[in-house]
């Protein structure tokens, strides 16, 4: 496989030179390391990104090539981008035992083919992915995750980071402890979203035979529907409220309604999709779309 690479290592004086007065009080000058690498890849390539702290922006383009542009200011980290077959691994390495979070920071701008598969690990900072149609796995601690026009099998796991998905399709599984989710203009046939102390907003299509499971401990689960939608609904909040604006046909087996908490069960239109909403002590809202 042909691999074309070039590396440009630029040192951009950010401060100090522009403000001479600052040099007097700054013990070491701050400059950025810019690294750019290109890798030729085959269809369905895999790109892995491991970055402890910083911004990761991934965009699809039409070239059969992965381009990695990395920026970091500290000498205590090093950025590596290597190719192994049809896989490109991008990693931020820590060069010192003791390192401050700010020194650990590296920012990436990565372009990938549309069908690339992504595996991203970014503890803190921000992850943005646009127009990538391959499968995707994103794990963060505090970093927020923002997907746009993504498809494939999408799995996102954060501890405290929020998650937003706009015009996503395929299959989506997202979990968090305290992150909130916004699922907008979704066209997914399978959505499983679970957070403990976060809100969940679902404003998308309910596809026929689709399964939509939204669950939290506390916070608000808000689902928007249109008059033409078709779904079976089950909504239960053990200690909280359920506010429903959908006119539901009662279930054939009313005894299937949980005797615990506040629960609503029924069918909207023909019930082609399955919608399961569950909260421990949060509020569930099923609202007509404006």
């Amino acid at each position: 496989m042909s691999t074309t690479q070039f590396v440009s290592l630029g040192f951009n004086w950010k401060t100090g030179l522009l403000a001479p007065g600052l040099l007097l009080v700054t013990s070491s000058p701050v400059f950025a390391h810019n690294i750019e690498k290109h890798f030729k890849v085959e269809p369905r390539s895999v790109v892995t990104i491991h970055n402890p702290n910083g911004k990761v922006v991934v965009k699809a383009w039409t070239k059969s090539e992965v381009m990695v542009i990395a920026t970091h200011t500290s000498d205590k980290v090093e950025v590596d981008a290597e190719q192994a077959g049809n896989r490109v691994d991008v990693t931020t390495h820590q060069l010192s035992e003791t390192i401050s979070p700010e020194d650990l920071r590296a920012d990436y701008q990565i372009n990938v083919p549309e069908d690339a598969e992504l595996q991203i690990h970014d503890d803190s900072g921000e992850v943005t992915v646009a127009n990538v149609m391959g499968d995707m796995n994103v794990e963060t601690v505090g970093a927020g995750v923002d997907l746009e026009d993504a498809a494939g099998y999408l799995t996102v796991k954060t501890v405290g980071g929020s998650f937003q998905c706009v015009r996503c399709a395929g299959r989506l599984e997202v979990s968090s402890i305290s992150g909130s989710f916004r699922l907008l203009s979704l066209r997914s046939y399978h959505v499983h979203a679970q957070t403990s102390k976060g809100n969940i907003l679902f404003d998308g299509e309910f596809l026929p035979n689709g399964i939509y499971r939204l669950k939290n401990y506390s916070g608000v689960i808000e689902v928007h529907f249109s008059p033409g939608d078709s779904f079976d609904l089950s909504a239960t909040s053990l200690k909280g409220k359920v506010n429903n604006q959908a006119s539901l046909t009662p279930p054939a087996h009313p005894d299937r309604i949980s005797k615990f908490g506040n629960a609503i069960l029924g069918t909207f239109n023909a019930g082609h999709a399955k919608v399961e909403l569950s909260s421990f002590d949060g509020t569930i809202k099923i609202l007509k779309r404006d």
Binding site: V141, I177, S178, K197, Y217, T236, H253, D255
Partner: protein, 215 residues
């Protein structure tokens, strides 16, 4: 003739029997596709269990002894006159395991507990059994998790990174939910939803502690 609901049918149905004795129950089974499917599912599970038992016989005690000796030799567990390494897991030997093994072991135990409980509890509505079952499974689990958490946190140098701080603050959130869920299960022992939330909170805690330990 008294009508039979799905709930009363599933309470009266004996998994081992092929056909219910009560006429009203038989009639319900004939007319209700959901309960027919329920009975078919049970039959499939039973058949699969029999097949599994036949194809995967219980290993001899010698295998466990050899396995234990091997693990001791490799330093993965420490020797003690024990009754089996599974029992040792709950006796404080978890600290000797490598971290990935630990995290995996915790999750496996959690899952085993959750699934193990769901069978007997689903079949009979008995508050005391629910309570006993839940307590007997979660008390050692909770204690073990707490001990693992203490060990991991005290053995690590203090770090003030925002990531570690975030993990700690989320651990507090999960601990709070565990406490709320425990209260809820105590109030309504047969509340399956509360129990599910409790088990999930334990899983989240195990996951978070493992993440903290990896740093």
């Amino acid at each position: 003739m008294a009508t039979t609901t799905c709930r009363s049918f599933q309470e009266q149905f004996e998994p081992g029997s092929n056909s219910p004795r009560d006429v009203s129950v038989q009639a319900h089974l004939r007319d209700c596709p959901a309960c027919r499917s329920f009975v078919e599912d049970l039959g499939s599970i039973r058949a699969a269990a029999i097949e599994l038992a036949g194809s995967d016989p219980e290993p001899s005690a010698q295998i466990w002894i050899s396995l234990r000796a091997q693990l001791e030799q490799e330093g993965i567990i420490h020797g003690a006159a024990g009754k089996g390494w599974f029992a040792d897991l709950f006796r404080g030997h978890l600290g000797a395991l490598p971290r990935p093994v630990l995290a995996g072991a915790y999750l496996s135990v959690l899952l085993a507990v959750a699934f193990g409980l769901s069978g007997p509890i689903n079949s009979r509505i008995n508050r005391q059994r629910w309570l006993d079952g839940t307590q007997s499974s979660t008390t050692p689990l909770s204690a073990q998790l707490r001990s693992f958490e203490n060990d991991s946190l005290t053995s690590r140098p203090d770090t003030d990174s925002p990531v570690t701080a975030s993990l700690h603050s989320n651990l507090e959130i999960v601990d709070n939910y565990i406490s709320l869920c425990q209260d809820s299960v105590r109030e309504e022992p047969d509340n399956e939803i509360a129990r599910d939330y409790l088990y999930e909170a334990y899983q989240q805690k195990a996951d978070l502690v493992a993440q903290l330990n990896e740093r």
